[in-house]
Symmetry: C2
Subunit: 193 residues, 2 copies
């Protein structure tokens, strides 16, 4: 089997990843990027991850070589990580991995991201979250409206796994599209949602 280099610098092998949970051992961000790349290649949708926001403090401009950033800091994101267009609709979503098997801690969503989701919903977006329970190997599609309603109503700091099973949609997996979330979008559009 061949070794594969992933953009984040990790090495993996197809044999190892196929052995663990049908290839889904890799991280959610990677799986979504692969899926988006496939959607783009089949001209189904144009959805990209936004670059990681950083504050750049110092840059060196060496002669005859590329500018080099020598001091920078991670910034709290002011929006969600993913957006784009599908069937003329504006899509916007955030993706989070969850290490717990029992509940998703709400502190992993930044207040900015929650405000941003409310903003785009008011303007007509298809807005959602992809939450992966890594130990259970389940990725849920949750309508942002539903999660925001839960947050407003409940006093809890986390969302029980059962809530996702009841209110979310399990995202189908396949080899080319490891997180085939547009299947869920299609279903919701067909239901007039």
């Amino acid at each position: 089997m061949n070794n594969v280099n992933y953009p984040n610098g990790r090495k993996s092998s197809w044999s190892a990843s196929l052995a663990s949970a049908g290839g889904r051992g890799m991280d959610l961000e990677h799986d979504i990027n692969v899926t988006n790349g496939f959607y783009l290649s089949e001209d189904k949708a144009v959805i990209h991850k936004k670059p990681t926001p950083v504050t750049i403090v110092k840059v060196d401009y060496p002669k005859r070589s590329a500018a080099r950033i020598t001091e920078a800091y991670f910034k709290v994101p002011s929006t969600t990580d993913y957006n784009g267009i599908y069937k003329s609709r504006y899509l916007d979503f955030e993706a989070k991995e969850c290490a717990s098997e029992t509940s998703f801690p709400l502190k992993s969503l930044h207040p900015h991201q929650i405000r941003h989701l409310k903003d785009v919903i008011r303007h007509g977006a298809v807005a959602f979250l992809l939450i992966r329970f890594t130990k259970l190997d389940e990725t849920y599609y949750v309508k942002a409206e539903d999660l925001l309603a839960f947050i407003e109503k409940e006093e809890r700091h986390s969302v029980p796994h059962r809530w996702f099973a009841e209110n979310g949609f399990l995202v189908p997996y396949n080899y080319l599209k490891p997180v085939d979330y547009l299947k869920v979008v299609d279903r919701l559009i067909a239901e007039g949602d």
Copy 2:
């Protein structure tokens, strides 16, 4: 008059900027960010600039303080800089300043950005470019379709200023919205475009 600190670290003063060309002496990116901030505050549209894409190579994790990126490089952007939602429509655009008074050099658009604009047009986006001729103090809204058609048809490496005057729309300026491009979008929507 008060001094104002801009996010990019430059200092300016309102008095100085008001003296030059009605406050439009500042850079296009800044003006668009101010405009987008105003659109967001009046709940008219949700449009953000994407973060500058960088490849992060080394990060220090000092005890008791924020992670510090010590080596990173600028990446060629794979999409345009701005996107968002307005009246349920997906908006996507690129903004460029042009120092020449006579023509806009096409080399300032990356091939990736041109491909991205074609992609989103096929899927139904409102796609455009904002081109500012800095010396003339004119900012044009150009439909991406029109500029792409010019690029396909002509052999030129630059687009004459006259072409913008004939095919583009001058973007109105006002104090709160220095690049009020949604005015042009509204006009095009009203004309059924």
